[in-house]
């Protein structure tokens, strides 16, 4: 227990230091927040455009405009959390490997993965979290007024939703840190980062769009092998509950999401530790 308290204190110091640092560069902070927000608004505009041409996405999938906006706000929650807490650190990790600054982290009497993953927090990314909250609230209100099968919110749903959003963040984090750790063997590899971007691109839309002879295998791969589709889909479906007869499938998927989270975290930790044993440092 004392261990946990100590780690929490260290994390709070990280958070505080990052905040102080961000506030020193205030204009930058504001600009970055604005940038994130405007990017999100432009994307929202795009989806509004799509829904001006169609009522649903996917045949019989039930993803109408506001259901989709629930999906979108879930994406915003997950992405903003990943960006705020992990993106900069994982990037920095590759740099640390390359320059040899990782040495310093290895000298500290604290779990290396903990330090590497949490030492900097990008507060400006959390503006998207807030924006997601607004969008979600708005969409839920609209969905509650849905003529067919109106949405009924229960406390359990809120709890499960939060849990699954966190699971989604954990899965994405595991992927990121595992990819980044490979730079110990592969050197600084820009392709790997682009790869990450392309893979997460697949998780931006509801999994129902992956249909047909090419779509179904793709859907299977990205659910069970590289579980990015699980990240946003599971919590979003929990709330948006699009009309579909396959509720049992839904719960299997939800259970699988937990399994996937644990497995991803375990696998990424294994990769991380293996990578550390091969670390060479850099010549001084």
């Amino acid at each position: 227990m004392k261990e946990a308290a100590s780690y929490l204190r260290v994390f709070l110091t990280f958070a505080r230091n990052s905040l102080v640092r961000d506030m020193t560069f205030r204009t930058n902070f504001l600009l970055e927040s604005l940038a994130s927000l405007s990017w999100m608004l432009a994307n929202l505009g795009f989806y509004l455009l799509i829904f001006s041409h169609t009522r649903y996405i996917g045949r019989g999938s039930g993803w109408g405009q506001y259901e989709f906006f629930v999906f979108l706000s879930t994406t915003m929650f997950v992405n903003s959390l990943v960006q705020a807490f992990f993106m900069a650190n994982v990037d920095e990790f590759s740099e640390m490997i390359r320059t040899g600054r990782l040495d310093f982290a290895l000298l500290k009497p604290i779990d290396t993965q903990f330090v590497i993953s949490l030492q900097k927090i990008d507060w400006s990314s959390l503006v998207n979290f807030a924006a997601g909250g607004v969008l979600l609230a708005f969409s839920l209100v609209k969905l509650a007024a849905r003529p067919a099968n109106p949405l009924q919110l229960e406390p359990l749903m809120a709890v499960l939703y939060t849990l699954y959003v966190l699971c989604g963040v954990a899965i994405l984090y595991s992927l990121m840190i595992a990819l980044s750790a490979t730079s110990i063997w592969l050197g600084r590899n820009q392709t790997l980062y682009d790869f990450w971007f392309y893979i997460t691109n697949f998780s931006r839309y509801p999994m129902e769009i992956y249909s047909g002879p090419w779509g179904r295998p793709l859907r299977w791969v990205f659910t069970f092998l590289v579980p990015v589709l699980v990240v946003v889909n599971v919590p979003a479906r929990l709330l948006a509950q699009p009309l579909r007869p396959e509720t049992s499938l839904h719960w299997t998927l939800a259970a699988f999401a937990i399994v996937a989270t644990v497995a991803s975290l375990a696998a990424s930790r294994w990769v991380f530790n293996r990578a550390l044993t091969s670390y060479r440092s850099a010549s001084s």
Binding site: S6, V10, N17, T24, P109, S281
Partner: protein, 346 residues
């Protein structure tokens, strides 16, 4: 029981070659050439508690690699080492709490924040009780004269000031073993001197064990009684500084101040003239021949002052390095054998 024990420690890397030219680059897509670098080739060393040991060696000799192995930063290819009973590369938290590594020109403090924020982070990570932390911090910053700089962002400090902050950070948790990798590199003379003074004082007060690598002879001469020379991944010499001088320089330097009207002709017969600037001259004379030579000079010339000293340490070291880097490995082994064997120096 030595506090540091090293047995047959070795570390090798495989380095891949980057290809020049278009065709070679294309071929590089399919097959890469590599070579193996043997950074450390099996060293044996014992260090007792409270010793202040210097690692000397040419660039690429393996000094820094050895320190990194002892810090647990990298894993060895083979061999064994114990520091305070721990195996360093296991990276146990218990071990990491008891030692510190400082690397010159590498900064671990947060760049944009004042040093005291980084110190606070240190306190949390090492779980130093608040009062002990404040006491140690004040003591260290006082000794290094940087207390007034605690609230300034690290990026605004000069190189010397930053190094002092790094040292402070490293010693906040009162480590029992300290590894220093070129701590004074790039600093001006005054800063170097201050840091040397500090290290000397601190080591004497706390009786901690320090391993230092440096290129600066002044650091070594001022601080360490025991010198370990590493070249090409192996220990070539382990003994005292005076041992090196005795072992590797056959000469003494005789500086003569002649009377103004004295002619300086014909000095070459007494020894190698390294410098001649009337009325001064410097001669390199074989050790054994010094009394004889001096007598002869004084008999034939009018001399106002004489100084006989050892050649600069750098010269002795340079001779040692060039000898071990050359083909003549048996010779260096022979030289080593005539000096104190490794591990037995007190």
């Amino acid at each position: 029981m030595p506090i540091i024990e090293i047995r047959q420690l070795a570390k090798s890397y495989r380095v891949y070659q980057k290809q020049e030219g278009l065709w070679a680059s294309l071929r590089g897509l399919f097959r890469r050439e590599h070579r193996d670098v043997h950074a450390v080739r099996g060293i044996d060393l014992d260090v007792a508690q409270g010793e202040f040991v210097a690692f000397l060696g040419p660039n690429g000799a393996g000094k820094t690699t050895t320190l990194k192995l002892l810090s647990g930063v990298i894993n060895p290819t083979s061999g064994d080492a114990r520091v305070m009973g721990h195996v360093p590369w296991k990276r146990e938290n218990a071990y990491r709490r008891r030692f510190a590594l400082v690397m010159g020109q590498k900064n671990q403090l947060w760049w944009d924040l004042p040093a005291q924020e980084s110190f606070r982070l240190h306190q949390q990570i090492y779980r130093i009780p608040a009062d002990q932390f404040e006491r140690t911090r004040d003591e260290l910053t006082g000794l290094l004269s940087v207390r007034h700089l605690l609230r300034q962002p690290v990026r605004e400090l000069s190189l010397g000031e930053r190094m002092k902050m790094e040292l402070t950070a490293a010693l906040l948790h009162s480590p029992e073993v300290l590894f220093l990798d070129e701590p004074t590199i790039g600093l001006d003379v005054v800063a170097q001197h201050k840091i040397q003074q500090f290290l000397k004082y601190y080591q004497q007060e706390r009786r901690i064990t320090i391993l230092l690598t440096s290129h600066y002879m002044k650091d070594v001469a001022a601080l360490c009684r025991r010198v370990v020379v590493i070249a090409q991944g192996q220990i070539e010499f382990d003994g005292s500084l005076s041992g090196i001088i005795d072992g590797f320089s056959q000469h003494k330097v005789v500086t003569l101040l002649f009377s103004p009207e004295q002619s300086l002709e014909g000095l070459e017969q007494f020894g190698e003239v390294s410098e001649i600037q009337p009325p001064r001259a410097k001669l390199r004379v074989d050790r054994t021949a010094v009394p004889r030579t001096l007598a002869a000079i004084l008999a034939q010339h009018s001399v106002e002052d004489v100084v006989v000293e050892d050649p600069p340490l750098d010269e002795a070291i340079a001779t040692l390095f060039s000898r071990v880097n050359g083909e003549e490995r048996p010779e260096s082994k022979q030289v080593g054998a005539s000096l104190s064997p490794p591990g037995k120096i007190k």
